[in-house]
């Protein structure tokens, strides 16, 4: 019962935070809402039996990736100057069409998903089993993930270096 | 092997011509002419043996080995595609016509082409090679291949050396033929697929597919694919509109090849493929096709009359003449088909000659507009007389090949459908009308006021007259003694007629 209640609360928080994040005009505000949303989702992870994932969500997602965003926002010194323009963009004629599309999409997806039955979790999956899987069948995937990060590194190095070269 | 050698001679000749550009201006032309003549002589040496006529009369559709030449090499066995060339009377005539008119085309472009001569002659030779392939390939895949490939050098000829509106004309030419060709490709593949359903493997061989049983609707659909492709190339009404543009914009040699040879591939295709492969559909479709033929005759003739552009007029006259061919093919009896064969050859010569004259006029006057001409006979009597000769020939005067063609077609047609014959014979009148107006507007009449006596209008030179005489001779010979030609074609035609009969009975 507690689980269920917590789930609904967390879900509501996550959704609201996300909506708020999407509608902000100030980037830092939006980011804070997004972090809230991520934390709420971490709670859901935990509730459905993925504590390892919940931890990673907080540590890496909220803690690392979002901070990257903050860095960039700070670096660009966005401040308040773009706000006025951003606010204009949130006129109904801008979002009404996409909103309808999203709504249709949502309805379609919900219709397709609504038939699903069964519990979301059949017991907790321990970090240990995840670790075993990672270094068992998924060992090559881990290696490749390192390659992926390498490519992100090289790419952002190349792009960012250029900014720094000229910018400062 | 003879055919492959022929094609290879032309291909290699093209490459040599392309390379010889660097040697001198003359070299490409000489190379081109030589390679055509070599091919022609080679063909003659291989064919003209004491018994060639008997061999020709023995060729039967059921046994390709009995043909004058037959070559079958595996090519893409995965799809039952082979390199299958065969030569019977009809093909032989067409190949010979191609080579002769090829030589004429090279001669026509002797001084016409001012830039990139090497590439030009190469394209001419490659087109010829493609056309020979079309006339001799009896594997449907191979046929389609040549059918498309001959377009490319022709496209180059129009697009590079054409006149003011060449881009449009070349594009139109290519898209019309290519788009219709796709339909033919689909049809031929469908035939192979049907063959596979019956026999367990693909085959594109003409000899395999000719007696293939198929459902009526399928047959009809497949036939329309072939029909459209060939009628576009012919060109028949209402798919002819590429022709006036292509003819008008092409350089002289291009027009000669187009009118003289390329159009004949359409007629050849109709005779060889579109009807025999689909006997009952073709039989039912014949009235439609003939109606298109009649429309083409009248429409072409009337439109020709209205033109002010010399080449356009001649182009429309081709549309009109090709209407007769369409009629003849779908009348499908020996008389009409012989008429078609003769008409093809004769039209090849007469229209080629008229395009040469148009080209010479353009070279000298820098215009094709007949309103700027008038009274040219005074300055160029030889050209005027030649023009007169070919105009008269093309309007179907007895004594020239065109007449034989038309009269045989009409005779054959009347046996099938008297009303069609009556309607078609209107073409004799309308033909006279536009032909004579052509003469009147260009060579007759008051010489243009601003064209003083001093204008540099040299008449035909010896080389040009020689070409003209050759074609005149050919036309007259065809007109008064066509029998040898008909003997050569006869067996093929009768064989095809019989095959269709057989198919109809089934």
């Amino acid at each position: 019962m507690l689980e269920l209640t917590l789930f609904y609360i967390a879900s509501t928080v996550a959704l609201f935070a996300t909506v708020l994040a999407m509608t902000r005009t100030n980037a830092i505000h939006a980011l804070i809402y997004l972090i809230v949303s991520l934390l709420a989702i971490a709670v859901i992870f935990f509730l459905i039996g993925a504590p390892f994932a919940a931890a990673l969500e907080i540590v890496i997602y909220a803690g690392a990736i979002m901070v990257l965003f903050v860095f960039v926002i700070m670096m660009l010194n966005l401040g308040e100057k773009g706000d006025a323009r951003e606010r204009q963009l949130l006129q109904p004629h801008v979002w009404l069409g996409p909103a309808i599309l999203s709504l249709v999409l949502l309805v379609e997806l919900l219709y397709l998903i609504s038939t699903v039955e069964g519990p979301a979790s059949s017991g907790s999956v321990s970090p240990k089993s995840v670790g075993l899987a990672l270094f068992g069948p998924y060992v090559i995937a881990v290696e490749l993930a390192s390659m992926l990060l390498l490519s992100g590194l090289v790419g952002s190095y190349h792009l960012g270096r250029r900014y720094l070269d000229r910018g400062l | 092997m003879v055919i492959v050698t022929l094609i290879i001679i032309l291909l290699i000749g093209g490459i040599i011509a392309l390379l010889s550009e660097k040697l001198s201006e003359e070299a490409p032309r000489v190379t081109a002419l030589l390679s055509i003549l070599v091919s022609l002589i080679y063909l003659m040496l291989q064919i003209i043996k004491p018994d060639y006529i008997t061999v020709i009369t023995q060729s039967s559709l059921s046994d390709p080995a009995s043909w004058l030449m037959h070559l079958k090499l595996e090519w893409i066995p995965a799809f039952g595609i082979s390199i299958e060339f065969a030569l019977d009377g009809l093909s032989l005539l067409m190949v010979a016509l191609t080579l002769i008119l090829g030589a004429v085309a090279v001669s026509a472009s002797w001084t016409d082409i001012k830039k990139h001569q090497g590439f030009f002659e190469a394209n001419v030779l490659w087109t010829l090679a493609g056309v020979i392939g079309v006339f001799t390939a009896l594997d449907l895949f191979l046929f389609f291949l040549f059918w498309e490939v001959m377009l490319i050098p022709m496209y180059f000829i129009i697009a590079i050396w054409g006149h003011e509106n060449r881009s449009y004309a070349a594009m139109k030419f290519f898209i019309f033929t290519q788009a219709s060709g796709l339909l033919m490709l689909v049809s031929s593949i469908a035939l192979a697929v049907i063959y596979k359903e019956v026999n367990g493997q693909y085959s594109f061989s003409y000899f395999d597919l000719i007696n293939l049983p198929k459902g009526y609707l399928t047959e009809y659909l497949l036939m329309s694919g072939f029909f459209v492709a060939f009628v576009v190339k012919l060109p028949g009404f209402p798919f002819h509109t590429w022709l006036p543009d292509a003819h008008t914009q092409a350089p002289t040699a291009g027009s000669v090849i187009l009118a003289g040879i390329l159009l004949k591939t359409g007629a050849y295709g109709l005779i060889r493929f579109a009807v025999p492969l689909f006997p009952s559909a073709a039989n039912d479709f014949a009235p439609m096709a003939m109606a298109l033929g009649v429309f083409g005759i009248i429409y072409g003739a009337m439109t020709a009359f209205a033109q002010t552009d010399f080449k356009r007029l001649v182009a429309y006259s081709s549309v009109s003449h090709m209407g007769f061919i369409l009629l003849g093919v779908y009348a499908w009896n020996e008389l009409a088909l012989q008429g078609v064969v003769i008409q093809m050859i004769a039209h090849g010569f007469s229209s080629a000659a008229l395009f040469m004259i148009a080209g010479s006029l353009q070279e000298r006057l820098h215009t094709r507009d007949m309103r700027e001409m008038s009274g040219l006979w005074k300055f160029m009597p030889k050209m005027g007389a030649s023009a007169m000769f070919f105009i008269i020939a093309s309007l179907g005067l007895p004594g020239f090949g065109n007449f034989i063609g038309e009269v045989l077609i009409l005779l054959g047609l009347y046996q099938v459908s008297s009303w069609m014959a009556v309607a078609a014979s209107l073409g004799l009148i309308t033909g006279a009308i536009y032909s004579l107006i052509l003469m009147q507007k260009s060579f007759y009449g008051e010489p243009n006021a601003h064209r003083g006596e001093t204008t540099m209008l040299h008449d035909f030179r010896k080389r040009e007259m020689l070409t003209m005489y050759t074609m005149m001779g050919a036309l007259v010979l065809l007109g008064i003694y066509p029998q040898p030609i008909m003997d050569v074609a006869q067996t093929t035609l009768i064989g095809l007629i019989d095959a269709v009969q057989l198919g109809l009975v089934k």
């Binding site: 249709v104 997806l109 | 009337m302 005779l411 009148i429 007759y444 010489p447 029998q483």
Partner: protein, 617 residues
């Protein structure tokens, strides 16, 4: 001799080719020598042939080679020689020779001397092929050949576009007839399986009953061809305009030979026509009608050659009348005499024109009889023969025609009366011509006297026009026996008297009281009737409105290729689509995302809407 028959048409042909190819390099004398000589040789050979034939009247056929042999069609290049052929050949070669000779002088100063003779030789050759051929296809070759030569010669002076126009008209109008004739050939071949004249005729008689539909249709189509070539109503309008050509050409082609080809054709195919009484009737009526119509038109013309042209039409009308009533011999006979006297008249008019600075208007001539005695004599003789004054050649032939017509059952007398009226008018206009041109005041002075090459042909033709009526044609065993029972005497008398009466009237009108000539006979624009007659019964205008203008108008619609509009529409649709779609590539990422979402929705929509997939797992 028989073996060399093919030389007769070949000689002029070779000469024509020779002259054509080397036209620019030959001196005029050589040209004249070859041009005339070749026809002369043909004439000699023909005479030889005739001589042999008269001695031993034996039909024969010479086959040179197989022209074409396809299926059941088999046509040879072969010549069939019988009496009719002989007569025609004699006319063609002899008259042709004389006219060539005449031309030598007449065309002397023309720049295109060689071209002229080439055409003329070609014509003679084609005409010979026409009459000699043993099958209808070869005949058609000659038939079209002469048409083309006529075209070339009418338009000989190409600088004037009016000449070109006349030539085109001549060719196209006859071509209409030719096409009908071609259809006739199609019917004959399809029905009878051959185009060989002899076997065709015999099998026609076997296969068809008198009065059948098919032979009638075939005959009518052949008749249309004949009418076109022989300038019979309604296809006669080309002939007056064809006078634009050089005068000897008019003499040879448009008087003596080509225009009578239709007569020859029908005479040649008479056995076929006999099967179809309706067609015969049409021929007769057409003949009389044309004869009258043209005669009246001739009455008001002012151009000397146009008068002769209309008279030619009229005279051929008589021949058709004769054919129509079955008087084959009379028709051919009149053909021959007409060839003599009309050639004479044309050459005479040529002589006049030659000397009068190319003046054609007869009212600008006058009083020429003293200045040009030979010409006057020839005109007088020619006109007499034309008017069928007694004992001239025309008299015999025309008389024969009228009498034969009278003897026809049912409509005979009506036809006869028509012919008679025509004869009256003929006399009237022919002597109007003579009187106006040779008598009265001199209006234009001739600038020279003609030489022997003009004089000689005129003289010979004069003689022929006079004595031609006494010839006996070797046609007796060719045509079915004609019942020549003499009709009532009054008929004969009236027939003889009518031309004389016409002469008298003409005399009164143009010599006695020239001041009171009806205005309508001198200036055709005077009143409606004369305008109507002058313009050839307004037929040209009629045809123009009915056929020519609509044709030209409809072609001008086609000029821009209306079909291209269809294809352009297809192109346009594609281009529009390209434009719209390109517009959608706005470069804005948000919009791109919208498109992705739309695609996504579509795919999900398909998945939802087609649930049958579920049952088919």
């Amino acid at each position: 001799m028989q073996d060399f028959v093919w030389l007769i048409p070949l000689m002029p042909l070779i000469s024509a080719i020779f002259l054509m190819v080397f036209s620019s390099k030959l001196p005029p004398t050589t040209v004249g020598f070859f041009g005339t000589g070749s026809v002369g040789m043909s004439a000699l050979l023909t005479c030889n042939l005739t001589w042999g034939y008269l001695k031993d009247p034996d039909l024969f056929t010479v086959s040179l080679w197989t022209w074409m042999k396809v299926g059941e069609l088999s046509a040879n290049v072969g010549f069939h020689i019988d009496g009719l052929t002989i007569v025609m050949m004699m006319i063609i070669t002899c008259v042709g020779f004389l006219i060539h000779l005449f031309s030598c002088e007449f065309m002397e100063h023309d720049k295109s001397y060689a071209r002229y003779f080439a055409y003329l030789n070609m014509f003679v050759s084609a005409m010979l092929i026409l009459v000699m051929s043993d099958n209808l296809l070869l005949l058609y070759l000659g038939w079209e050949g002469v048409g083309v030569c006529s075209y070339l010669l009418v338009g000989f002076w190409y600088q004037h576009s009016s000449n070109g126009r006349a030539a085109r008209k001549a060719f196209i109008v006859t071509r209409i007839g030719d096409t009908a004739m071609m259809l006739g050939l199609l019917i004959l071949f399809t029905e009878l399986g051959t185009l060989d004249i002899q076997s065709l005729v015999s099998s026609a008689q076997v296969r068809w009953q008198t009065g059948d539909f098919m032979p009638t249709l075939a005959c009518l189509l052949l008749l249309a061809g004949a009418a076109g070539k022989s300038a019979q109503f309604p296809l006669h309008t080309w002939l007056p305009d064809a006078m634009a050509g050089p005068t000897p050409v008019s003499a040879l082609i448009h008087a003596a030979t080509m225009v009578t080809a239709g007569v020859y054709l029908i005479a040649r195919m008479h056995s076929l026509f006999i099967i179809s009484p309706h067609a015969m009737m049409v021929i007769a009526v057409m003949g009389v009608g044309t004869a009258l119509m043209a005669a009246f038109s001739a009455l008001v013309q002012t151009d000397i050659k146009r008068i002769l042209a209309y008279s030619t039409i009229s005279q051929i009308g008589y021949m058709f009348l004769a054919l129509g009533v079955g008087a084959w011999t009379a028709a051919v006979f009149h053909l021959m005499t007409h060839a003599f006297f009309k050639a004479l008249l044309f050459l005479g008019s040529g002589a006049i024109i030659h000397c009068l600075h190319h003046e054609h208007d007869i009212f600008k001539m006058g009083g020429l009889w003293k200045r040009m005695p030979i010409t006057f004599a020839s005109f007088l003789i020619g006109s007499s023969a034309l008017a069928a004054l007694p004992f001239t050649s025309g008299f015999f032939s025309k008389d024969l025609i009228l009498l034969s017509a009278y003897q026809l059952e049912e409509f005979g007398p009506i036809l006869w009366a028509g012919g008679l009226l025509g004869a009256l008018v003929t006399a009237l206009y022919s002597f109007r011509l003579v009187f106006v041109v040779f008598f009265g005041r001199i209006q234009t002075l001739p600038n020279k006297e003609n030489g022997w090459r003009i004089g000689l042909p005129l003289t010979i033709l004069c003689v022929l026009s006079l004595v031609g009526g006494y010839f006996t044609l070797p046609l007796s065993n060719l045509f079915p026996m004609e019942t020549n029972s003499h009709p009532a005497t009054w008929v004969e008398v009236v027939s003889i008297a009518t031309p004389l009466f016409g002469l008298l009237v003409a005399y009164i009108l143009f010599i006695k009281i020239p001041s009171r000539i009806p205005k309508s006979l001198t200036s055709p624009q005077e009143n409606t009737i004369s305008r109507f007659l002058f313009s050839g019964w307004k037929l040209d205008e009629f045809y123009d409105r009915l056929l020519v203008s609509p044709y030209v108008r409809s072609t001008s619609i086609l000029l821009d290729e209306p079909l291209d509009k269809l294809y352009n529409t297809i192109v346009l649709v594609n281009q529009k689509l390209h434009k719209w779609l390109s517009f959608s590539q706005s470069g804005r990422m948000r919009w791109y995302m919208v498109s992705v979402a739309i695609g996504f929705i579509i795919l999900l929509g398909i998945a939802i809407a087609i649930p049958r997939g579920l049952s088919e797992w």
